[in-house]
């Protein structure tokens, strides 16, 4: 056992003919809050989705908690971007949180008392217990995010993957969620989170990863969150990467 929560070697990912991630290598120990930063189109969401097995990879090796993806699916929780969800869906807050239990129920079984209690407990933790029968279309941005958090908590996972959880929410929710992240870290869980606001990286995260199609730098925040790395990720050199990617996409499509 290597002791690393997440180990990735030579990972490359493409969406059709567009290269998204090139030769990614990293190892992350357990019990840290890691944030992934980079410009738009850098492949941050894609990295999460590839680690979760939602998006296939072209090449490379992924080890989660020392095992392959299939073996540890039940130990992983995922919070997608809020914008990718249809909030008009006919579901209540409780319905959404219960969905988190479907994985361990398997086929042909319905959520029972134990699952409902777990869901209530998770909703209590995020402060949404009073809303359990509310329709999700009536929730504010911050409330929606809390519901997704509760759904992730119900998983009882070891690894948490979150896509832009802090985007577009009110300050109170942000503080509450940051406190929750800290709690999870204290319990020894590993968190991999994409983040867009560079000003809050130091406060909320132990480790930071600069990603722009290739991995620029990663490690403890104090050491890695430097101006030089920020410039490499977001500066003029990043623009060249975008051009190179576009050229590759065109060539391999026959244009």
């Amino acid at each position: 056992m290597s002791g690393y929560a997440i180990e990735v070697k030579e990972l490359s990912v493409s969406y059709g003919k567009t290269p998204v991630l090139w030769d990614i290598h990293f190892s992350i120990p357990s019990g840290v809050r890691v944030c992934i930063v980079g410009p738009n189109g850098a492949g941050k969401s894609s990295l999460l989705k590839t680690l979760l097995g939602i998006v296939p990879s072209l090449s490379g090796e992924i080890k989660l908690l020392g095992n392959s993806l299939k073996e540890v699916k039940s130990k992983m929780a995922y919070i997608p971007q809020r914008s990718s969800i249809d909030w008009d869906f006919p579901a209540t807050v409780l319905d959404v949180v219960l969905m988190g239990t479907y994985g361990r129920l398997g086929f042909f079984k319905w959520p029972g008392k134990a699952e409902k209690e777990a869901a209530f407990a998770a909703l209590e933790k995020v402060g949404m217990a009073a809303f359990c029968n509310r329709q999700i279309s009536e929730l504010s941005g911050g409330q929606q995010q809390r519901v997704f958090f509760a759904r992730a908590l119900v998983h009882e996972a070891e690894l948490y993957f979150m896509d832009e959880p802090f985007a577009g929410i009110d300050l109170a929710t942000e503080k509450a969620l940051a406190a929750l992240l800290n709690e999870l870290k204290e319990e020894g869980k590993t968190l991999l989170i994409t983040h867009h606001d560079l000003s809050t990286v130091r406060d909320y995260y132990d480790w930071v990863m600069f990603l722009n199609t290739c991995l620029i730098a990663y490690g403890p925040t104090e050491k890695v969150f430097t101006l030089e790395n920020i410039q490499r990720a977001y500066g003029q050199s990043a623009h060249l990467l975008t051009q190179a990617k576009k050229l590759t996409e065109n060539r391999t499509s026959g244009f």
């Binding site: 059709g16 989705k49 979760l52 097995g53 939602i54 699916k73 992983m76 995922y78 997608p80 990718s84 969800i85 249809d86 869906f89 006919p90 579901a91 209540t92 319905d95 959404v96 969905m99 988190g100 479907y102 994985g103 129920l105 086929f107 042909f108 319905w110 329709q135 279309s137």
Partner: protein, 316 residues
């Protein structure tokens, strides 16, 4: 002699339930069913199947794909008619629906991804060309142009006992599939990525949904025709959505509304025939009744909203 001859609306309903009771208590056999009753049963079973499948198609934003399917099954039907010679053969219908369903999906995928055409344009191109091909096949090989018209409009009055068995089979298939895989369909519709993570196979769910829709479409074309099958698929679901925000309730209410509209349409059709001597298209009637039902549900939901707001204002 049809026991419903010259019956008006309410006497139709009364007689129907009387005979239903006799049927259930065993005093009436299936062979003695009147054509009107067969129509009601077939349409009710079809409505329920369509509502079940339609709920998830609407939630998955696949309604237009269902429209596409409803056109392309003409090719499947034409082919199976050519190969098997009849249209009541369950094998033939199964083949027709699977072939057309898969063909639609594969071709649309090819146009969007390989040929890089807009998604909406791909759907439009696929179904118009396959429908045109279907009409051509039907004209060339069967010389029976009526098949083309019937496929679009249906022929409710031509329903027989065999259609009843088919409709019941469809009803069983869709209700069992949905009951077994309700969780999986729900999560695949709401959050496909979570479904993938949880091991719930959203891709398979999608395909299963489309195949169920194809089978139901083929089953429905004889009764209501392919285009009006769309009304059964989408109408009751949209109406039910106005009344509830819980998914399970939605599906049940959609099925109930669909069945109710079908029954009312058959009763109305008989009434108009008895009272005015005009034979109107039952399939057209169903659609219009569904539209009126939708309007009622809209009013009901607005009323409910107004009352809730009124109560709120009172509290304040």
């Amino acid at each position: 002699m049809n026991p419903y001859w010259k019956k008006t609306f309410f006497s139709f309903c009364a007689l129907f339930f009387q005979r239903l009771w006799l049927l259930m208590s065993g005093e009436l056999s299936f062979a003695e069913l009147a054509p009107d009753e067969i129509q009601v049963f077939v349409l009710v079973f079809l409505s329920i199947s369509s509502a079940l499948v339609g709920s998830f198609l609407v939630l998955r934003k696949m309604a237009m794909l269902a429209n596409s399917l409803s056109h392309t099954i003409l090719v499947g039907i034409a082919l199976s008619y050519l190969i098997f010679g009849s249209l009541l053969d369950t094998k033939a219908l199964l083949v027709a629906s699977l072939v057309s369903g898969l063909l639609t999906v594969l071709l649309t995928h090819f146009f969007t991804h390989a040929l890089r055409l807009q998604a909406e344009a791909s759907v439009g191109l696929v179904f118009t060309s396959l429908f045109a091909l279907g009409v051509l096949l039907v004209t060339l090989f069967t010389r029976n142009v009526h098949l083309g018209v019937e496929a679009v409009m249906g022929n409710v009055d031509g329903l027989e006992f065999g259609d009843l068995k088919l409709a019941f089979g469809l009803f069983l298939l869709s209700s069992v599939s949905l009951a077994l895989f309700f969780k999986e369909f729900t999560v695949s519709a709401f959050d496909p990525e979570l479904a993938s993570l949880l091991g719930l196979f959203p891709g398979v769910c999608n395909l299963l949904l489309l195949l169920l829709a194809s089978v139901t479409a083929v089953g429905a074309f004889r009764a209501v025709g392919v285009l009006l099958f769309l009304a059964l698929l989408v109408g009751p679901v949209l109406a039910a959505r106005l009344l509830t925000h819980k998914l399970k309730t939605l599906v049940v209410i959609a099925a109930l509304l669909g069945s109710l509209c079908s029954f009312v349409a058959v009763a109305l059709s008989r009434h108009i025939l008895s009272a005015y001597g005009t034979a109107l298209s039952t399939s057209g009637l169903i659609t219009v009744v569904i539209g009126i039902c939708f309007a009622f549900c809209l009013l009901a939901s607005r009323f409910k909203l107004a009352r809730a707001e009124g109560l709120l204002i009172k509290k304040i």
